[in-house]
């Protein structure tokens, strides 16, 4: 077991000016499950591969425990990796696949067999040990890939989108299995995914990356409740947060007929670069249905109602058309999402009045995108 430390780790691909990973500083505690998440091309996989030693580190350091592994070959790092396409050795049986690392390390045969069988039992693979990967289903292959990592008993597990080749149902199942397995084994794990639901459900902590830059690290709750900037706010959470650019006047954020009160500290934190504007974010579930004329209430024209049984989501547009495009959400430009009572959903084409619940608005500087104190 060991901690993992990225110290200003940078990777620039040859022939490119912008680093794929730019001065990443990140610490993963011993036994922690850290999820690297971000849109495609954000550098999350590159970060993981740098830790695995499959990608050069152009500057900075990477440490496993107290050991500097920046220039250490992958084979000497004592890590195990699960690949997106599993990368099982097609000419070996399941047992040989799982025992390959031990065989290379020169472990006695009897001990290899014992450890492979133990891992197979944990993963429910015992009856498939003599099969070739070709004869397994996708889920089974995924478990063999996990088994290959477990058998090693490494210092760190690295997982590169291990669930993305599974169908939706199996993915949810395996998600919980991996998370509980990791808790049981207590091995430090770095897990890469582009799926924020996976990130929220599995990780002890989440690190969000964008364009090679670390945006924020924190527990799922922190990420959800206090996103550090507009990007994290829009990325974490499903459906995504509504974000709108509002004009600040009279201690309020104003957009058309909508006036949402701001606190003193928020207004004090605004700078000249913000040009009297502020970005306001509110999650779909932070909206309450209100009545016309209430302080801070605004009208939405309902385009679509999504009923999920436990929830109902209204997709709509600000009724004030001239300012509608100032608001965006996960549903797209000029769209707004609100959660409403599933027992009494509005109809398509209705006009409803909603209001941001007090204290649940997120405020960001419109110049820097950074979170402002509320």
């Amino acid at each position: 077991m060991a901690s993992v430390t990225y110290d200003q780790a940078t990777r620039v691909y040859p022939g490119q000016e912008r680093p794929a990973v730019d001065a990443l500083n990140l610490e993963v505690a011993d036994g922690e499950f850290l999820v690297l998440v971000g849109p495609s091309g954000c550098g999350k996989s590159t970060s993981l591969r740098m830790l695995a030693g499959l990608e050069d580190v152009n500057s900075g350091r990477i440490l496993i425990g107290d050991r500097d592994v920046t220039d250490v070959q992958p084979k000497d790092r004592d890590i195990a990796m699960v690949f997106q396409n599993y990368a099982l050795y097609p000419h070996m049986s399941v047992a040989d696949n799982m025992g390959f690392a031990l065989k290379i390390a020169g472990t006695p045969k009897a001990q290899i067999r014992e450890r492979v069988e133990e891992a197979a039992k944990i993963l429910d693979l015992t009856e498939y040990l003599d099969r070739k990967p070709k004869a397994l289903s996708g889920g089974q292959r995924q478990r063999v890939a996990m088994g290959r990592a477990i058998v090693r008993q490494p210092q760190v597990f690295l997982m590169d989108e291990p669930l993305s080749n599974l169908d939706a149902k199996l993915r949810v199942q395996t998600r919980t299995q991996i998370a509980s397995l990791q808790r049981r084994l207590g091995v430090t794990t770095v897990y890469v995914t582009h799926d924020q639901t996976e990130a929220l459900t599995m990780g002890d902590r989440i690190a969000v990356l964008k364009d090679g830059l670390l945006q924020q690290v924190g527990t799922p709750r922190e990420m959800y409740d206090t996103p550090a900037n507009v990007f994290v706010a829009g990325f974490i959470g499903s459906p995504a947060m509504n974000l709108g650019s509002f004009a600040v006047a009279d201690g309020k954020a104003n957009l058309g007929d909508t006036h949402i009160p701001l606190t003193r500290t928020t207004i004090d934190a605004l700078t000249e670069e913000d040009k009297g504007e502020i970005t306001l974010g509110f999650r779909p579930e932070s909206l309450d249905v209100a009545t016309e004329g209430e302080e801070g209430a605004f009208a939405i024209n309902v385009n679509l109602v999504e009923e999920l049984g436990s929830d109902a989501f209204v997709y709509g547009q600000l009724a004030a058309r001239e300012v509608a495009e100032h608001v965006t959400s996960g549903a797209g430009e000029a769209q707004l999402i609100a959660r409403v009572d599933p027992r009494r959903p509005p109809m398509k084409g209705d006009k409803i009045w909603v209001k941001v619940r007090a204290g649940e608005a997120h405020v960001f500087s419109s110049a820097t995108g950074l979170r402002l104190p509320a």
Binding site: G53, L54, K75, R77, F100, I104
Partner: protein
Amino acid sequence: MSVEATVPEVADVANRRTQRPAAATKFRSLVTNRIGSAVAVVIAVLWTIPTFGLLISSFRPEADIKSSGWWTFFSDPSFTLENYQEVLFGRASSGALATYFINSLVITVPATVIPLVLATMAAYAFSVLEWRGRDWVFVGVFALQIVPLQMALIPLLRLFSSSELLEPFPFLSVWVAHSIFALPLAVFLLHNFMSDVPKELVEAARVDGAGHVSVFLRIMLPLMAPAIASFAIFQFLWVWNDLLVGLTFTGANNAIQPLTARLAEMAGSRGQDWQLLTAGAFVSIILPLIVFLALQRYFVRGLLAGSVKG
């Protein structure tokens, strides 16, 4: 009755609609099964008849061969092993293929193994390892295939004629010549095959603790087996059947000449012993035949390998 009359009509329309594609597929399967098989059989027979005639001739006495066609064997059978006797162990001037058979074997096996060993390692270097200028060097190696073999004969001969290594290793020049002529194609083919192996597999092995030697021996070689086998067959047949390189680099040295060189001289200086060619041909065919039959499973798979993922 009237009800019955209308029902078939409706059924007919429905049938006609469904029957057209059905007929098409039926026709196609008929063509592929019956006609296709028949054509294949005819071609196979046409191709095999001369060889078959040669086989029969080889068992006929000299006088018969020189006076009548092989098909007369069926009306007037006369059987002898004299030709084989003469060819394999006969007097030195026209026979004694046995020693040349061994020579060919001594030439062919290393001339197959050496380029294969070098080419698999080179293919690994060109496909898995990453180094500056790799692609340019690879293009260079591939481009070497354009050089006609004949152009290299004289420079190589000059190189070897002044070499003292030929004294202890008389076969060295033939081995080297065959190996270097085979390498560009071998490197190219094996490189292409190796590039098809997903790179995650190599990465997984490296994370699992394997160095390049282990990756090469334990991952790449087993996966490459079909490709290696198919190239081995190609190279074996090529070297075994080669006359030009064998003749050039063994010079007039009878002790190291391959079977093919001997076969060409077998008819005698005035062609008087041409009846022996029949038996000689079959002696030289036998080994390639064994190799082909033993490895043909890989042969087919190796040619297809890479076209289908998995």
